[in-house]
Amino acid sequence: MSTTAGDATPTDSGDTAGHGSATGGTGGDGDGALRADTTFERATIGLGTSLLAVVGALALGAIILAGSGQNPLTAYGAIIVGSFGDWFAIGETLARAAPLAVVGIGAAIALRAGVITIGAQGQLIAGSLGALCAGFVLRDVPAGVALPLAAVAGALFGMVWVLIPALLRAHLNVNEILSTLLFNEFAFLLLAYLLNGPLKEPKAITPKSEPLPDSVVLGDLVASTRLHAGVLAVVVIVALFGLWTRSTMGYRYDLFGENPRLAHSLGIPGRRIICNSLLISGALAGLAGWLQAAGLLQRLFVDIAEEIGFFGLVVAMLGGARPLGILAAALLVGALQAGGLHMQATEGIPASLSDVIQALILLGFAVRYAPQIAAIARRAVRSISESLSAVAAWGRPGSAPGSAPGGSQKRPEGS
């Protein structure tokens, strides 16, 4: 919000704004600036420092574990066994990483365009409903046709779920964080209603849907694991995202995120970019819902979304909003979650403690990519602060909302 942050020579990040973390690292920001080749290939913190951070996080976790009467070594051992110990564990890790990566890519496209969405949770639920609906409709259609159609249905439902927030953001400058958060709530309530009413499997005690018809279910890739064929789709999506970052269209989205005023002066239509990036992220979150419904669980539960929507955002940030980074971050989070569950089960460690340990380790890894995360966060912060200043401007007589730099006052923005 302070104008300092945007000084012409960004080494000034120093004092006022919250991204001072980039300076003074062992790697040095100057070197990184020189090495940078594209926007997001930015500096990382030196390997030594980042290893130290991970080790520090592990040590802190160990203290917490020991403090609550657990043996840290066996606990950490359980995480590794549960994530990579055998084929089943690896399958768990990959199956968890898959929707995270897909949601993360959607979030990354929006983040790069300066749009921050936390609606993946709701869009994911919508996408899983889409897969279920497709399943009911295509019950007797051959799998070769039904399967891809179910995926499309998932993506479409996810997109529809973000349509209203997208239009509100693009045309009325309604904060997308607020609106997508509310739509998460709607989605959750709708799912809970459907699974307790119309879609409830008649004889079941807990609310859940009937199993999806075989024609839309994704088969297992490896026997006796939960690794399903859907992960192959993830590989394709990561590749497509790689292409996106190299494309002229991706460039325009990035440019809009980096400097909306410049983008505007070059005739790049801001509203359309805001709208489309939300729709793309919605479609990808919907696909993640399809992966959950048609791949992993093969029916709908109330908690089908777990916390994938939010961790998807973590993955996008941790991965520096780049394809391979996101892939790595998704694997890390997937492994931690699979391992954490295993730790709970075998060591009798409470779920809450397991979550704390997972979060600590993630934080340790986050240090290495702090400069990149800061670069992305800057865009996110700008979009938040613009929304806030637009809201604040309503209170002031004589000043219209939407006057922030990226705002659209008196702008035609052909859409």
Binding site: D37, T248, D254, N259, L262, S265, R396, K410, G414
Partner: protein, 575 residues
């Protein structure tokens, strides 16, 4: 000039040379005994405690050695000018003094004490204030609120209120008003800073830094966006602060104002000191100019004969209500091929809006803009398609700081033939293009992979110009095209403006720098209160006429209104 013999005479001669005779300033200077190595500076007390001293200061950014064993000192009660070509390391040195950057090696002393700031807040706690061109007031707040926000903690003072620190609006307001009265500034305490003109915002920032206990002031190109009257006010303020005991490090590319206010001058070139702390009073203007820019003869204006063609840019009856400032009130303008029109006026009189509307970025409430007969009103896409190029007043609006040079230079033509195929960017071609273009426009260093934000201020300006002027634009709207450029780089960009016009472009120069307008334009339009209040050929441009019209008065050749603005940049010497 045998100035070393008698400093007093030199001083007078110098004032004459600069064409400046503002009484109060000369008096202030005389009262302070400026005019050579006077007794002040030889005083033992001063020698013992320099305000600032840096020895062997080095700082590298990757392969770039921004500063190479620089020695620099600032005496109490002096204004020390720091000059040098773009990328010489001036801002880097300023940031090191302020604590924003750390030196790789070297020792710093502040008022005789060891000084090793680790961050900007250490610097401001020690009393070093750094006022950058991109001001750091928080938008949306009043001046009084800004004075409270970020007030540094100083050991041994009560500058920062003890806990609980409650914002006391009336106290803050009183503080602003007291300081404004003391410094003879008209800084309103209760106005939102966004609503203030740039010059006032700058004064507010200086005022706030004094309220925070600044003992040393660094001004980094404070005058580059100011007009002559505002510059004059700034100079008065600086001299006054100096006389009241606040030494100033003053960075600028403008010779006349340096001659007027600096006591000593240090020249940097490629990170090295080439002239250390020369006495300004003892040297003559020409010598200073040579120290600053080397070969002066290269700076001579070679004004080409421009042939006028058809009308290319046409704006008719533009009306625009703006949130801040007057907006546009019935402005019409037409520019022909080969023509350069200068738009002058005090900043904030509709210049920004005019640039926006002419390039299609702002949709006017009424009126049309046509380029070669095609309407482009309110459509940046159509304007770009018609060949519009824009150098915006605010550099941050014209560059993507986090993008590389290559990515910035390609922005207007990402999807064009050699740079993309089937919607995929071809990075090698983009990089080659970037290197060639950066070299052509003398962007230093011309490394395609560098982040644009890591360039020095002047080189960012060149980068922007390279992108916009690369291919002859049909219409070029340039707001302060040479802002922040060293004299040679400024010369190069002005020549390119001539070139653009020579190849049949219509050029609009919007600038606070009247010398620049006088040099480039054939025709001048005065903008005041959002209206065009006067139009004349450049040969009729005199400081008297400009001063009157810019102040919003009607021009009356015989009357009293034509008092001289006597600005350092006033075109008194124009043909």
């Amino acid at each position: 000039m045998s100035s070393d013999a008698n400093p007093g005479i030199a001083n007078e001669a110098r004032a004459g040379d600069a064409g400046v005779g503002s009484g109060s300033i000369s008096q202030a200077r005389a009262a302070h005994g400026i005019g050579g190595p006077g007794p002040d500076h030889d005083n033992d007390g001063y020698a013992a405690a320099l305000a600032f001293e840096g020895l062997g200061v080095s700082r590298a950014f990757g392969a770039t050695q921004a500063l190479d064993r620089v020695d620099f000192d600032l005496r109490p009660g002096e204004i020390h000018a720091l000059v040098g070509e773009n990328g010489a390391g001036k801002s880097t040195l300023a940031k090191i003094v302020a604590g924003t950057l750390r030196a790789d090696s070297g020792t710093l002393r502040l008022f005789g004490e060891a000084y090793s700031p680790r961050r900007r807040s250490d610097g401001s706690a020690a009393g070093v204030a750094h006022v950058r061109q991109q001001l750091s007031l928080v938008r949306g707040l009043t001046v009084a609120q800004n004075i409270e926000l970020g007030r540094p903690r100083r050991p041994g003072t009560t500058a920062r209120r003890p806990w609980p620190r409650v914002f006391n609006a009336s106290e803050a307001r009183a503080e602003v008003e007291r300081l404004a009265a003391e410094l003879d500034l008209s800084v309103p305490a209760d106005r939102i800073v966004d609503d203030l003109p740039l010059a006032v915002r700058q004064q507010a920032e200086i005022l706030i830094s004094l309220a925070w206990g600044a003992r040393l002031l660094i001004l980094d190109e404070p005058s580059s966006a100011l007009g002559p009257l505002e510059t004059e006010a700034l100079i008065t303020l600086c001299l006054r602060l100096r006389d009241e005991g606040t030494p100033i490090i003053y960075i600028s590319h403008r010779l006349p104002e340096l001659a007027e206010l600096a006591d000593r001058l240090t020249v940097l070139r490629q990170g090295r000191v080439v002239t250390a702390g020369t006495d300004v009073a003892a040297a003559d203007l020409r010598r200073i100019a040579e120290l600053m820019v080397g070969d002066i003869s290269l700076l001579e204006v070679r004004r080409p004969d421009l042939e006028l063609g058809e009308v290319r840019l046409e704006a008719d009856g533009l009306l625009l209500a703006a949130e801040h400032g007057p907006g546009l009130r019935d402005v019409s303008l037409s520019v022909r091929a080969g023509e350069i029109v200068g738009v002058v006026g005090v900043a904030g009189n509709g210049q920004e809006e005019l640039a926006g509307v002419l390039t299609g970025q702002l949709r006017p409430d009424a009126g049309v803009v046509r380029i070669d007969g095609t309407e482009v009103t309110g459509s940046p896409g159509a304007a770009i398609g018609a060949g519009v190029a824009l150098l915006p007043e605010d550099r941050t609006a014209g560059l993507a700081a986090d993008f590389t040079l290559a990515e910035n230079l390609i922005a207007r033509r990402v999807a064009d033939a050699p740079f993309a195929r089937l919607g995929v960017r071809l990075r090698a071609a983009v990089r080659r293009h970037a290197r060639a273009l950066a070299e052509r426009f003398d962007v230093r260093p011309p490394e395609p992979a560098l982040r644009a934000g890591s360039l020095s201020g002047g080189n960012q300006q060149k980068l922007m110009a390279a992108r916009e002027m690369e291919r002859d634009p049909a219409v070029l709207v340039a707001a302060g095209p040479t802002k922040g450029l060293d004299p040679h780089a400024g010369r190069a960009i002005r020549d390119r403006c001539f070139e653009t016009a020579g190849r049949g472009g219509a050029v609009v120069i919007i600038s606070a720098d009247l010398d620049e307008v006088a040099e480039l334009a054939q025709r001048v339009v005065v903008l005041s209160g959002g209206r065009v209040t006067d139009r004349f050929g450049v040969e009729e441009m005199t400081s008297a006429r400009l001063g009157a019209v810019m102040a919003g008065l009607a021009w009356d050749p015989s009357g009293e209104a034509g008092r001289s603005p006597a600005g350092s940049g006033a075109p008194g010497a124009t043909p």
